[in-house]
Structure formats: structure tokens, C-alpha cells
Amino acid sequence: MSERAAGSIYDLGYRRYAGVRLGRWHSAFSLYVHGLRAAFGLGRRASSKIFPVGLAIIAAIPAIGYLMAAAFFSIDISDVLQAEEYYSTTTFFPQVALMLFVAAVAPELLGRDQRHATLPLYFSRALSRYDYTLARFGAMATALLALTLLPQAILFLGNAMVVESFGDYFREEWGQVGPIIGSSILISVFLAAIGMVIAAQTSRRAFATIGIIAPFIFLPSIATVLVEMLDNFTGRIGVFLNPFLVIDGFTYWLFGASANVGDQLRDANFAGGAYFLFALAVTVIALALLLRRYGRQSL
């Protein structure tokens, strides 16, 4: 009997928690870290990792490829693949990999909580609805930043290694670091905001993914028709419908180059700053819509 009693005392061993409670910022930060891990399928089963990790590798293939070419043939590749070209329509498939990454990850980050009705569990804790939204958006943007910066870092360090003097290369190309980071951040928040606001509209994963991919397929075609067929201001404005060209525009501008690269950008003939401001505005509006969406979410 006494043994059983001891056993049940052990079972009932409920202890009060006297440790620290770290409050709202810790709550939001834990959710952010959780989202970032979920974005790459970390801590999940292997099949959850295939898409995000695969796309991250695809996005880095040109960098790795050029680097290998440089290593085997000892050529200076910095002229072949410029940093500003990496996520442009010239190299194309890293850009597509980014878009697919958003389409795969954004529904995972937002749709899961809606589908399984876990939102009330989050909202009944220290963090606010806005904290939740920003933590999820932050996780998406950071995951994208990893995808945009990693290939650039490979390219930059690779170039630095194949030239004769590492130090000289660094000094010469130092000016590139700012634009590389700046354009990577803007590409990331721009795509994250668009992806998240679309993903927030449905709890169905497939719908969200299609909803994100569709505009990236249809809008560029519409943009092409407008810019190429209509030779007036209305037509030229159509270039902003193509998110890939918007990315091109502000990236070249951030690197201090002319934005008028390629047929359509040349025909549209806007200053690079216009694309920068446009991307910034889209990001802010999408984020505002996302916050509004979660502010009103009924539980």
C-alpha cells in the first residue's frame, strides 16, 4: 500500500513553475524561430524537407556551377555572372526557384494554423495577433533571405578566391556588398509579402500554392502584351505587373546600373527608383492587408 501511495505521489508530481516568464517578445521570437525551422522542414519528416531544401539548392546552382567552372578552368568569372544578374530575368531560374519556394512555404506557415484551428492556442498566449502575423511574415522573409544571400555569398567568395589576391578583390569589390544585401532584403520582403497575403486567404494548401504561382505566370504575359503592343504610357506602366521585371528594375538600380536592361525594361523606360518605390509600396500594402486579415480573424 505504501509503495502504491509513493507511486501515486510520483505520478501526481505537479510542481508550480517559479521560473521566469519572458513575455511577449519571447513569445513572438519563439514563434518566429519555429516558423523559420518549419520553412525548411526542420524537425519534420523527410518529405517536408524535399521542396524547400531542393529549391534552395536549385537557386544556388548557377553560383555553384560558375564557381566550379572557375575552379577547374581558373578563369575570372566575375565578368560572366555579375551579382546584380543573379536574381534577374537573365539567369531566370534562380528567380523561378524563389517564386516556387514562396508558393511551397507560405501556405505551410499560415495555412497549417488555420487548417488545424491552432490559432486560438496562439492568440490565447502572451503574443498579440499582430505579433503572430509579423512573426510568421518574418520567418518567410528570413527564409527567402537565406535563399537570396547564400548564392551571392558563394559567388562573391568564389570570385575572391580565384583571383590572385584575396585582399585586393575584397577592396575592389567592397562596394558590391551593400547592394547585394540591400537587393536581397528587398527581394525577400517583396516576395514574402505577396506570398503571405495570398496564402492567408485560404486554409487549403493546394489552393494557396496555385494562388501564389498563378499571378507569376499570368501577370508577366499581360505585362509583355501591354509593353510591347501598346506604345503609350498606359502600356509602359504594364511593366509593373511583372514581378520579375520589378525585381530586375530595382536590383539594377541598387547596384547603380541602368534599369533599362532587356527589351521590356528598355521599352518601358522608367527610372530604376520607380521599381524600388513600387516594390516597397507593394510590400507595405500586402503587409497591411495581412495584418488586417489576422486582426479580424474570428476565432
Binding site: 519563439s30 519555429h34 488545424h116
Partner: protein
């Protein structure tokens, strides 16, 4: 300090008034929130958690103003929603530990508390399995665990026995009772089943159609209108007859006599004792009848006896 205090709390939706000028004042303990489906129980809980804004009126929980100090308040409360809220593809341990961190616990403490809390609700080896494979009973336990993991001072349980079979229901109620009485965590438990509330709670808030019907200690409710069940080792009808003679309301049936409680009950108890002694019988059992709470709400009984949605 009252646990929950509301003044004129009102929630109006375009088509319906979910809560109508509620004035609630309850002390810490295990509190039952009773009402038919659609009486406004869930709405009240969500407002008290700061999840929904009230249309009018004010509410304080643990001395925090729910409208303005919701974020601070929610560090110290737990919430077990009525509906399913568990993602199927992660384990109970992972899920609860994650939510513990979101509750503000540092990582190591979150892990430790998760293991303890899951053991407390009766989940052992299965806690490493994915939640998708859990039975309803196990899922309810995980839902309770996530509400308890950060050691809150108050937990809101919205229909915790929903969808459970009778055995599972018993276990869940026992768990709730222990959480309240042995671990000193205040509980507000919503239910449309009076029997459950009566077994577990020591105070009661009754709402109907968004209005407060009554609030107070469960003992008050039963004492005021309760009746006693007396089991004797002789003929209870003669005892009942004797009590009726002396002006008490009583009836006998075999070895059982049912006696209505009078005033504070002192006289009734004395009369029963005297009657048994005079008749030279033995007293086997003397207790308040279980359904006494239901007697109180008999007009609402029909709506309360609605079958549960599973």
C-alpha cells in the same frame, strides 16, 4: 481579489446579443459556467481571454483589465478550446513544448514542464507519437496539457468532456478536479451538463440567452433547494410518515427516505436522527441528492439535456 469581475459586460453581433449586461463576481476556485448550447459560454470565455472585444462594459481577470492588459494577463491563463485544435503531424511533446515557449517559458524550462505536464494528464510513451493517431480522449488530454504547461493561475476549459465516452468523461473530470483542488489552479469550466459541474465545481455561474441567471457557491444552490437521501436498515416508509407528521416533507420507498431540507437543515437533520432513534433503526447513509442542481434548473432541463455533438 476577485478572480473574475465584470460590469455590464455586453457583446452584440449584428444579428444577436450574445452577452447581455453581465455582472459577474467570483472568487478563486473551480467555477462552473453553465448554460445551454448558444447561451454565450464560449463568447464569455473569449472576452475574458481578451480574444474578443466586448461591445460594452468592462471585465477584470486576475486583476488585469482584459481590454487593455490582455497580453500581460494571457501569460497567467491557459485556454482549452472546445473544438479540435491539434496539428496531426507532430508529436505531443513537440507541440506542447512549442506552445510552452510561446507562453514565455525559456527553452529548457519549456521542455521540462512539457514532460511533467504530459505525465500529469496521463500521457506517457505515446507522447512521442504524432497527434494524428491519438484517440479523442488522448487529444483532450493534450489540449488540457497545453493549457497547463506554463503553470497558469487560471485555466478556461470550454466543454472539456466533449466527445468523450463515459469512462473518458470520468477521467477528464477527475483530472480537472485534481487540477483545481490539489494544484491550486483556478478553473472556469464551461459545460452544458449540470452533473459534471456539480461533481467538480465549488462555484457556479449560470447564463441563459446571454443573461446571468445566477451565480454563487455550489453549496448555496444545493442547500437552498436540495433534499436528503436517507438509507436505513429498516422500513423507511415509517420514518417518512413520522417526519411528515412533524411537518417535514418526506416520502419513503423501501429502505430509502427522501426528505426535503428545511432552512439551514439543522432541524431536518435533528428530526431524522430523532426519528431513527425512536424507531430503533440503524442509519446506513445520509447524503444530499445528486440531482439537486438539476432540480433548480428544471425549466431549462430540456435544452440542457440536448444530445452532445460529437
Amino acid at each position: 481579489m476577485p478572480l473574475i469581475e465584470t460590469h455590464g459586460l455586453t457583446k452584440q453581433y449584428p444579428a444577436v446579443t450574445a452577452l447581455d449586461a453581465l455582472d459577474i463576481d467570483v472568487e478563486p476556485g473551480v467555477i462552473g459556467l453553465v448554460g445551454a448550447n448558444g447561451a454565450g459560454k464560449s463568447t464569455l470565455i473569449k472576452i475574458l481571454l481578451g480574444l474578443l472585444p466586448a461591445t460594452r462594459g468592462s471585465a477584470r481577470v486576475l486583476d488585469f483589465d482584459v481590454a487593455h492588459e490582455g497580453s500581460s494577463l494571457r501569460q497567467f491563463v491557459g485556454y482549452m478550446p472546445e473544438h479540435d485544435c491539434l496539428p496531426p503531424d507532430i508529436s505531443a511533446t513537440e507541440f506542447v513544448a512549442h506552445l510552452a515557449q510561446v507562453s514565455g517559458l525559456p527553452r529548457a524550462a519549456a521542455r521540462e514542464r512539457t514532460a511533467e505536464t504530459l505525465r500529469h494528464v496521463g500521457l506517457f510513451e505515446e507522447r512521442y507519437r504524432n497527434l494524428g493517431g491519438y484517440s479523442t480522449g488522448m487529444k483532450q488530454r493534450v489540449k488540457l496539457a497545453q493549457a497547463l504547461v506554463h503553470d497558469p493561475r487560471l485555466i478556461f476549459l470550454d466543454e472539456p468532456t466533449n466527445g468523450l465516452d463515459p469512462a473518458g468523461r470520468e477521467e477528464m473530470l477527475e483530472l480537472v478536479r485534481r487540477t483545481g483542488s490539489e494544484f491550486g489552479i483556478a478553473i472556469l469550466m464551461a459545460s452544458h451538463l449540470l452533473g459534471e459541474i456539480e461533481r467538480v465545481c465549488d462555484a457556479l455561474i449560470v447564463i441563459d440567452g446571454g443573461r446571468l441567471v445566477r451565480q454563487g457557491a455550489v453549496a448555496e444552490f444545493t442547500a437552498a433547494l436540495g433534499s436528503l437521501e436517507v438509507e436505513v436498515d429498516g422500513d423507511a416508509t415509517s420514518l417518512a410518515a413520522r417526519l411528515t407528521e412533524r411537518g417535514f416533507e418526506a416520502r419513503g420507498e423501501g429502505a430509502l427516505a427522501y426528505v426535503a431540507l428545511d432552512g439551514d437543515g439543522e432541524e431536518t437533520y435533528d428530526a431524522i436522527r430523532d426519528g431513527i432513534v425512536d424507531l430503533d433503526m440503524g442509519l446506513v447513509r445520509l447524503e444530499q441528492r445528486r440531482q439537486s442542481l438539476e432540480d433548480l434548473f428544471r425549466p431549462q432541463e430540456e435544452s440542457m439535456a440536448e444530445p452532445e455533438h460529437v
